[in-house]
Symmetry: C2
Subunit: 342 residues, 2 copies
């Protein structure tokens, strides 16, 4: 299975490899007729450039690394869709790795990508601080990185894409309040995730404003899976906390909580209303469908690559911080009637 190389073309046409290369790279220093002849022969012989040779020459791998904490929910899938949208047809390939919510795995993935000399990395962290030093090192060694969704603390000056977690959370919690709920639980994710804290802050702001805040209402989960939400709900109920609504950190947590409550014969939303934050199909796949903060995930992916391409093109460009606008979608988990449904 010998592959056609530039040399094969040059032999076939009795031209030098330089000339063939010129034709293929659209160099101006070549006669039109020659170029056409070469392109024709290339097509006829089925020539495909050898990426490794290109990479070796240029020192660039023409590939972009994407690291995500998980792919169990459609969240990352949507982001990837956005990334592919921008990159399809370009010279860049995408290499994807999952950290499985484990900072050590994230570390391995990062080093693997760097070793592979990707032209840049797009990453959604799984722990706010654990690999902080490594990010800086990789950046210093010259690989640009873009952060989205779960971003690092602000003392790391890097391009970022995300939505305004705090103010959007406030709005969503105010919606719960507007439906008459007074005892709203914040099912927050682990504190090692920045957004969990941001969204909790937004929640608190709303509760303070309406003088509804109570420490007992805030409960932290140990992880981000629906199972962790069930555990947390169990704890909450055993503790005897009274509540009539839940604002959850993500769709998965909201779903775990909702199922636990349905099992215990609670009515949603009459007994307990549930709102979440995410933007994945999951919120529509359960019953009743969830009111949620729908983040523009595809757009987030697109934006992230664009920021990266900008950085690759011009490494000294300023680090931009793009904030996207999420949409609040009200569904039956907070509103009993059929109206208002998307």
């Amino acid at each position: 299975m010998k592959r056609v190389t530039i040399k094969d073309i040059s032999k076939h046409l009795l031209l030098s490899t330089s000339t063939v290369s010129r034709a293929l790279t659209d160099d101006k220093n070549i006669r039109k007729e020659t170029r056409e002849k070469v392109l024709e022969a290339a097509k006829e012989l089925g020539y495909k450039p050898n990426p490794s040779a290109l990479n070796l020459k240029s020192g660039k791998s023409n590939s972009i690394g994407v690291i995500v904490p998980e792919m169990i929910t459609p969240f990352s899938s949507k982001i990837l869709e956005g990334i592919q949208n921008v990159l399809s047809g370009s010279k860049f390939r995408v290499i994807v790795a999952q950290s499985n919510e484990n900072p050590e795995t994230e570390r391995t993935n990062l080093l693997m990508m760097e070793e592979f000399r990707v032209d840049g990395i797009i990453i959604n962290l799984c722990h706010e601080t654990y690999n902080h030093k490594l990010y800086q090192e990789i950046l210093d060694r010259g690989t640009p990185m873009i952060f989205f969704d779960r971003i690092p603390p602000s003392n790391l000056d890097v391009p970022k894409v995300l939505v305004n977690d705090q103010s959007t959370s406030t709005t969503m919690v105010e919606h719960l309040i507007s439906t008459g709920k007074k005892r709203i639980v914040n099912l927050m994710g682990p504190k090692t995730i920045r957004n969990a804290i941001q969204r909790a802050d937004g929640y608190k702001k709303a509760l303070y404003k309406y003088k509804l805040f109570d420490d007992d209402l805030v409960i932290e989960t140990e992880g981000t899976s629906f199972i962790h939400a069930k555990e947390a709900m169990k704890r909450l109920i055993e503790k005897g906390v009274v509540f009539d609504a839940i604002f959850a950190f993500t769709d998965s947590l909201a779903i775990g909580a909702m199922n636990y409550l349905l099992e215990k014969k609670y009515r949603i939303p009459e007994d307990v209303a549930i709102a979440s934050f995410s933007g994945t199909e999951l919120s529509q796949m359960v019953f009743p469908p969830l009111s949620t903060v729908e983040q523009p995930l595809v757009e987030m992916g697109e934006t992230a690559v664009e920021l990266l391409l900008e950085k690759i093109k011009n490494p000294t460009s300023k680090n931009r911080f793009v904030q996207l606008k999420p949409e609040l979608i009200f569904r039956r988990s907070t509103i009993a009637q059929q109206s208002h449904q998307k």
Copy 2:
């Protein structure tokens, strides 16, 4: 950001590049002390081999392409987990592409991977026949391919991994029958997917056996998303078909159908029991949780890479066809009581 090369080491130690290379590749023709000296220097200088150079030399890219129809459900994610399990720590990198259930995109992905000279491709088809010729061409040009889950017709002699769709479906449908259901709908996927037909065959076998078959009970969906299931259910009900159970092609379809019915105030499983086929977390994320045929997805991924590595090592090895054993899990969507739940 100049990277450390073998030449840097050789200059640093006043050795030839050949010797350094020998030390690094664990060649026996080298003095122990020399090797140690080199390895130490390599570590000290932070040497990392340049993959492109390796690839150029060997003609291999040390990467494996994985093509999946979608990543909205956790199905592909589980498969990837298995693939990563086997490959992590190996020299192979994984490149993932989604076909978005579009055979044309699948085609582009395949050609892209071939152009990138992946060492092999692991694929889950999105259409049984559309790219049939291309598979053969790629195989003929020397890139091994492994098929899993949705496989091509048997006239393509390739390694495959899957579960026994037909007989397992029969068993699951018999479970529905055993709970007293008599009008069992087969919510089958599109006929362009082999497994949809296989599972439908298994379904039919069970219904024939108990003399319960009725053409009206079989309904094809236009796609594999939960929305397609809702559409199909709407059609079915408008047609006036009476039914008391559903056997769905996948979790997503089952969920779509279930939500549609919950919305219409059907009780699950009392009015309509629902069973599906898949093995993803989705079946546990909904309420009531779904009885489903749980496929060993991680194992399926692992097996697929193993078959591929076998093929890469020995291209003329026989094409194996591995059939994995799924597990039937009975949950509340078919059994009202709390017992029997996993």
